[in-house]
Amino acid sequence: MEKDPNNILDEVTQGEYKYGFYTDIEMETAPRGLSEDTIRFISAKKNEPEWLLEFRLNAYRKWLGMTEPTWAHLHHPPINYQDIIYYAAPKKKKELASLDEVDPELIETFNKLGISLEEQKRLTGVAVDAVIDSVSVKTTFSETLEKQGIIFCSFSEAVQKVPELVKQYMGTVVPSDDNYFAALNSAVFSDGSFCYIPKGVRCPIELSTYFRINAANTGQFERTLIIGDEGSYVSYMEGCTAPMRDENQLHAAIVEIIALKDAEVKYSTVQNWYPGNKQGEGGIYNFVTKRGICKGNNSKISWTQVETGSAITWKYPSVVLMGDHSVGEFYSVAVTNNYQQADTGSKMIHLGKNTKSTIISKGISAGYSNNSYRGLVKMTKRAENARNFSQCDSLLLGDRCGAHTFPYIKTENKTSIVEHEATTSKISDDQLFYCNQRGIGTESAIGLIVNGYAREVLKQLPMEFAVEAQKLLSISLEGSVG
């Protein structure tokens, strides 16, 4: 009568990846492999100015002299960088004036994901910049935004439209030689999003972008740049799901955020790249560099992330708190299941006086997965009276998964305060029995308990995103109970 708790959890956590499908859109691709020629090809395709080509080549040359980082608690076979196609784009037909002109198959894809542009547009009032395989297909609401002087477009478009802004800020938060993957991205980045909020403007709507990997063997190298000018406010959302593929796909994005004096930038993301199958085959390698700088006094940058996907996640959204009284926040839920591996966390670098940072990290591990929190809190000499509070909790489902916490704290002055709390817990049989006794099946019970556990983070998400995230958390741990 007694069941092995591991078996029960297996049954419950073996949900198939629900977004596994593949859209066939005509591709225009770069030749396989990486060389200066590849980079020139990409740059030419995008009709880029000379300085940007130089930026790319410079990054490439630095990358050649670097080696892949090995310090993370992650394991994967060596990546063959010559076996990757670095550029793929749906063939440009003509400028699109309305949704009717968008490739029906593309609309279909969005419908399957439950994020149809029409729905988004009509119901939620969200401007969607949908990126499929590197090239922006459609930007909505751009007119509304334009009136306020807000620039929200694809990165490539920004290079054409506002090259000075791009040139001024790009690479200032994440230098092109910051790390191995950042250097790679800087050399070959294909597209991404650009957002500029002018002085004193509060962006009236949530800005949202959906990314999606959609071609075999195509590394994805998005690049996002968000600039909040003095006294501005913006809430930016990015979410993604990827179709089921057998081969590993490399994803090495860069996100840079700049908040000037009194500006606030809120960045939310739900990440659901294909995690691989139950045996740990396939799945996306997600090696991302995300960093923001609170450049001016009283500025604020807040990262919220819900991570359920990818075979491997390597990601540490960080904030450099340069302006006095500036605030940095990091709220994270990371779910790993089966053979997924995640090494994620945050860095808060306090440079200014009276700066404040908060880190709330909730790791949830199931199956044979490994989930690590890695964080750095640095209080420099000048950061008088700076404060940090970190809370890192791990929830284990079953006893074959792992949770690890690596907090690094460096304090160079006597007036700053760093607080760190960490807990590890399990879903208890008593909790499951209690839910079951109310008629709630084990699968739903786990979804309910996990969502409750992550509530502190989920409530940071914009409403429409939170609902999606809650579903995703349940789905990623779901399966048929036998």
């Binding site: 049989d429 909790q431 029995f433 006794q437 008629g439 099946g441 739903s444 969502n451 556990y453």
Partner: protein
């Protein structure tokens, strides 16, 4: 409605229930009394389906269905409700969300669509009023940081929301102050119908003054050693268990 025959249950090789026989008919209230550690909660858990207990022998039939072959959640949807002696905390899950999930999962079991949101909220309001529960409590996480009495009240609130056919109250009175005890007892009495039944586990005669039982059973060392009318509870209160012990 509930028929238990020769139920023998053990845990970790130790026999706890040593042949229980019990018949509960619709409309009845049964009380189960007995010293600490004699197996009252074990009996409640086994009816509800807790799988850490080994059923060695016997059967439990509920409305013609063999409960022992059913998973816990199906038993619940069939109409079994257990008010826990020690309610469990579920951090971050609001009572509203918890109840909505429970109500709708039970409806799904019976092939019904989810309850419309306004109907559900109206029902929540009605039951909260009936049990004198603060509006704020429903927004708090299930049992997290609740006082002992609040936890027990919350159990009865859930009972009221789920409207089971057989409700088992495991020491619901312990931890309640006198006023709360009356509120809870009144609530239970309002929920009584000709087609449902209650199994009330308690140490104290006081609760039974409010929720008047049809039959009182004394559970002693894994066996029901005596059954009688409500006066049996009075007798126990007067004489204590030594009286039973000397007879057993």
């Amino acid at each position: 409605m509930l028929s238990i025959k020769n139920l023998r249950v053990s845990i970790e090789g130790k026999e706890i229930l040593k042949g229980i026989n019990l018949e509960v008919r619709p409309g009845e209230v049964h009380a189960i009394m007995g010293p600490n550690g004699t197996g009252k909660s074990t009996l409640a858990s086994v009816i509800a389906g807790r799988d850490i207990f080994e059923v060695e022998e016997g059967e439990i039939i509920f409305n013609g269905k063999n409960l022992l072959e059913m998973p816990v959640e199906d038993r619940a949807s069939e109409g079994i409700f257990l008010s826990f002696q020690y309610p469990v905390e579920i951090p971050g899950v609001s009572i509203t969300n918890f109840m909505r999930t429970a109500v709708n999962e039970q409806r799904k079991y019976h092939g019904l669509d989810p309850m419309p949101a306004n109907e559900f909220l109206a029902k929540m309001e009605e039951k909260k009023r009936m049990l004198d529960i603060h509006a704020k409590l429903a927004n708090r996480s299930v049992n997290e940081g609740f006082s002992g009495g609040e936890k027990k009240k919350n159990e009865i609130f859930q009972l009221a929301m789920l409207e089971p056919t057989l409700a088992i109250l495991d020491e619901t009175d312990s931890g309640l102050d006198i006023d709360a005890l009356k509120v809870v007892a009144n609530g239970v009495n309002k929920l009584r119908r000709p087609d449902n039944a209650f199994l009330v586990i308690t140490h104290y005669q006081r609760l039974l003054e409010y929720i008047v039982p049809d039959i009182v059973h004394v559970l002693f060392d894994g066996r029901i050693v005596r059954s009688g009318g409500k006066e049996l509870a009075m007798e126990l209160e007067e004489k204590g268990y030594e009286w039973i012990r000397s007879e057993a």
